[in-house]
């Protein structure tokens, strides 16, 4: 087995006693090994030289056409690309205005507040979600993420908080950040602890099954699934069952396969809505039992009309199933809005 082989090899890899002691000394307030500091100086010098060369060569071209080459430049040298990006703290497209409210560095975290306001309708609401349509370009290595921080109903304005940290102690004040958004979802509905009115004692064996090529999966026993079931066995999708009353998510099958309960849902055009959810069982005491694993597959990827199927699998013997009730939590979005919004702004030290 690969896992055992790999573990055996890894067991022989560990930090030396000297290295571990050096780090422990640092924790006690001592210095790290001197060679490390020397290394840092060498790296800084090389990096500075490289940056100067890049700036010299790139400046004439950049001055002429900043925007078209920005993406390419950012791939090659984020620092240079961001240096030349002009500051633009607001952006408007498709009747939606994006604006930077503040961009300050507090302690070791940079916090940036950006608003998005619908100037013409009510596409922005308190459930607005940028999903994976945004990017945060910055000229230094760091971790960054963006989340909805608040919503103001009277002005139809959503505020997002961008947090950047882990930049290695460099001075980043004055460095410019570019935040881009290509679309958002809104008008989401949440269904929590939704009881599915289905008699579990009547669940049959699947009459027909199919082997599918999965495009995702999860659950507490997913590792076993990945190890031994590279191509899982799934239900054949049936017509939507009316026991699931969630707009956008269809229940297309529930049956036993090889002694395990399979529950299947279908979501049309998933890239346009990000509908999602999961099922769980509850016993008579209200204790929740999650599925053992889940996997997903699609009817096709290339053409319009994509349907993603999600199959949730419970390793529950049929004779015990009558002791449980089926529940689910789901989130659906009612609207997707596309556009191109981009702001560039410098970070400032908070006084």
């Amino acid at each position: 087995m690969f896992k055992e082989r790999y573990s055996h090899m890894n067991a022989q890899i560990q930090p030396s006693a000297q290295l571990l002691q050096a780090v422990l000394n640092a924790a006690y307030g001592s210095n790290l090994p001197k060679s490390r500091n020397a290394l840092r100086l060498k790296r800084s010098a090389v990096a500075l030289t490289a940056l100067c060369i890049c700036l010299t060569l790139a400046m004439p071209a950049l001055a002429a056409t900043v925007a078209p080459i920005y993406r390419l430049m950012y791939l090659v040298s984020p620092g240079t690309a961001q240096f030349f990006m002009p500051v633009q703290t607001s952006s408007e497209d498709n009747g939606i205005k994006m604006e930077v409210v503040s961009a300050y560095i507090h302690d070791e975290t940079a916090e940036i507040y950006v608003t998005m306001q619908d100037l013409t309708g009510d596409r922005i609401d308190g459930t607005t979600d940028l999903f994976d349509s945004y990017s945060i370009n910055r000229p230094f290595d760091s971790a960054a993420h963006c989340e909805l921080a608040g919503y103001k109903e009277d002005t139809k304005t959503a505020m997002f908080l961008i947090t950047i940290d882990e930049w290695g102690g460099q001075n980043i004040a004055g460095d410019k950040i570019t935040f881009s958004v290509g679309g958002f979802l809104s008008h989401k509905s949440r269904y929590e602890s939704l009881e599915i009115p289905i008699r579990l004692s009547d669940i049959p064996d699947a009459e027909q099954t199919q082997t599918v090529s999965p495009n995702g999966g999860g659950g507490r026993d997913n590792e076993g699934y990945l190890e031994f079931e590279k191509n899982p066995i799934a239900l054949i999708p049936a017509a939507p069952m009316d026991v699931l009353s969630v707009d956008g998510i269809d229940l297309t099958g529930i049956a036993y396969i090889d002694g395990k309960l399979h529950i299947q849902t279908a979501i049309k055009e998933p890239l346009d809505n990000d509908h999602h959810g999961f099922f769980y069982l509850k016993d008579k005491t209200g204790t929740q039992i999650d599925g053992n694993y889940s996997f997903s597959f699609s009817n096709q990827y290339e053409q319009p009309g994509r349907i993603d199927y999600h199959e949730y699998v419970f390793d529950i013997p049929r004779e015990k199933l009558a002791e449980y009730s089926l529940y689910g939590d789901f989130v659906t979005s009612g609207m997707k809005t596309e556009g191109k919004w981009q702001v560039t702004f410098p970070l400032k030290d908070a006084e």
Partner: protein
Amino acid sequence: MKPQSLRGEDCAEEVIRVYSNLVYRLAFARTGTTYDADEIFQEVFLRYIKKRPVFENEDHRKAWFIKVTVNCSKKLWGSAWKRKTVPLAENLVFETKEDTDLYNELQKLPPKYREVIHLFYYEDLSTEEIARVLERKSATVRTQLTRARVLLKNLLKEEYDV
């Protein structure tokens, strides 16, 4: 409620000892050399000592160490210093020929594949947990894992049940 650290400031030694192998082995998995793993090991714990982040629980602490180790590995890999230096020959000696062969075959994989293989098979993270900690889509992680396994199977001539 503000999250509380599970360990006080005086327990940094314990935290370092607990997570030392995790950080070192992940760094080694990604970079393939003990020299780079040494460098990343120091960088990760230096950040921990300087920042003293607060975690809600040990899972979050583990995720932090994994994320920072991967970020530091990427930073080292992409640095101007790294690109302009010739790597030292690795002098790590494994116990068995099988270990050495496996190490050599793993080095033929791209670092991002080795990283996913390590987190899945050694740290026992699910693909969704890997996706969260690496800030990738779970479908991407799953694809990378599948491709890595296919490559490994080819490289090892189906010697191992990957």
